[in-house]
Amino acid sequence: MTEEIIIAGFGGQGVLSMGKILAYSGIMQDLEVSWMPSYGPEMRGGTANVTVILSNERISSPILSQFDTAIILNQQSMDKFEETVKPGGILIYDSNGITHHPTRKDIQIFRIDANDEAGKLGLKKVFNMIVLGGFLKIKPIVNLDNIHKGLEKSLPARYHHLIAENEKAITRGMEIIYQVDPA
Amino acid sequence: MAKIIGHIEVDIEKCKGCVLCIETCPVDVIAMSKEFNGKGYHFMELMADGCIGCANCAVICPDGVITVYKAKGDGNMEKVVA
């Protein structure tokens, strides 16, 4: 099994840490992992993306131009990464701020309105965990036990009281994701 | 009685919502919008009457977002202020 994922969005959306939790969880499940951010210029703001690979074999390249799954959280990222999903692959997106919805026919497209949901729950901070939940629903490549361990590993101890909340968000994400037909 | 009346215009797409202008307005007539601009920031708005055109907000704004106007409140202008 090798799962090659790109997660892309704005700087503040928790893109990198979502990737990090996924990667740590993979390690807990004894997988090989790699986490490769596109680090921005020496300036604030802008877009951010991270490539996460989970595999039970040695990972050759941490930098990819095609992905099994793309998780897309803003329009710029949609413009850039829709094309990079492998035929037959998966695209998951949050529709918030999306003006051009994905149009490819040769991939499966899922939508998760995590931003709205986070607002509703009053849990803006765990927006990214809702998205992660959605992804895990579609691709259960790591089990929830290991996600728990991954959260423990990647969050500093002083935030461990938040783990439950994060897990709740993951569960919620699993509930609200749904498949859409390309327009 | 020539009262001073002021007015500001805000380039909302460039506003970054830093609220420095709001802190500095002597008559508290500006506030943050509920909406976001294209960059994802809440932007500053003139919220009430009473601007005195002191330009504090424009002077402090790091992003050069604000244009300030001021007029003596006489003639038909006075009507408006009244």
Partner: protein, 261 residues
């Protein structure tokens, strides 16, 4: 530009009532700085000065690396981008070859007071006829908030995560006081842009600096104590307050060396 014109008294928004508008020498591009960052204000004051003195054709700016590395995108003057710390050397080169031009540098505290120490001291010592604008935010903004020579004692940065300790990193370096001791500096002042009053004072100082250049008086050195909300991890409003309470006692505002008539 999409202006939101409000109803309140919007009818007075006619040219003859204009009180304040961004100088056209500031380009229309949105600034790349964080919300509330002083760099934008300082850029504007310089451009206003250039406009008011009508010296655009004879002004050359120099912006080395630092958050303001892209200054050339925002300022309407000709600009050279310098290697880290070397702005004063570039300024020397240009000013010596064009003695009648207005050459200014725009430097951060990392740039001017760390790697560029020698170039700064020697340009000041030779009395180059230039304006040095020194934006002291006590941190390396651009590279993600590392300790600068001007970081305050106890201040936390990404390379002093437990607070700057005097025994390891020394005291904050007061470059402005230091260069004031050199005969080559003519006008040395420290200002800030965190209130409208201070902005207006800073503007006066900057304008005076450029006017002294016209009269070939040597180095005019204007320090602006400024904020770095991102580096300090504060909101702009809190940052300005923190600056007043913590930076100004260490870096008191006001003139340090003024031209004796």
């Amino acid at each position: 530009m999409s202006f939101e014109t409000h109803k309140f008294n919007s009818h007075i928004a006619v040219p003859e009532n204009l009180v304040y508008a961004k100088t056209p020498l500031m380009n229309d591009k949105p600034l790349s700085y964080c919300p509330g960052c002083g760099h934008g204000t300082i850029h504007r004051l310089i451009m206003e000065t250039v406009e008011e003195l009508d010296i655009l054709e004879d002004t050359i700016g120099i912006a080395p690396v630092g958050c303001s590395v892209l200054a050339y995108e925002f300022m309407g003057t000709d600009v050279q981008q310098a290697a880290h710390g070397r702005a004063c050397a570039l300024a020397t080169g240009i000013s010596r070859l064009y003695p009648d031009k207005y050459v200014f540098t725009y430097q951060g505290d990392g740039d001017l007071a760390a790697i560029g120490t020698a170039e700064t001291i020697h340009a000041c010592n030779r009395g180059e006829n230039i304006v040095i604008i020194f934006v002291n935010n006590g941190i390396y903004g651009m590279t993600g908030g590392q300790m600068a020579p001007t970081t305050l004692p106890g201040m936390k940065t990404s390379t002093s995560p437990f607070g700057r300790e005097q025994k390891d990193a020394g005291y904050p370096l007061k470059m402005t006081e230091l260069v004031a001791h050199l005969p080559g500096t003519y006008y040395v002042t420290r200002q800030s842009v965190h209130t409208p009053v201070n902005v207006r004072k800073a503007k006066k100082a900057i304008k005076k600096a450029f006017e002294l250049t016209r009269h070939k008086k040597g180095v005019s050195f204007v320090e602006l104590v400024s904020n770095c909300n991102s580096g300090w991890k504060m909101t702009p409003v809190d940052a300005n307050k923190w600056m007043e309470e913590n930076m100004f006692p260490f870096y008191p505002l006001g003139d340090i060396k003024v031209p004796s008539k």
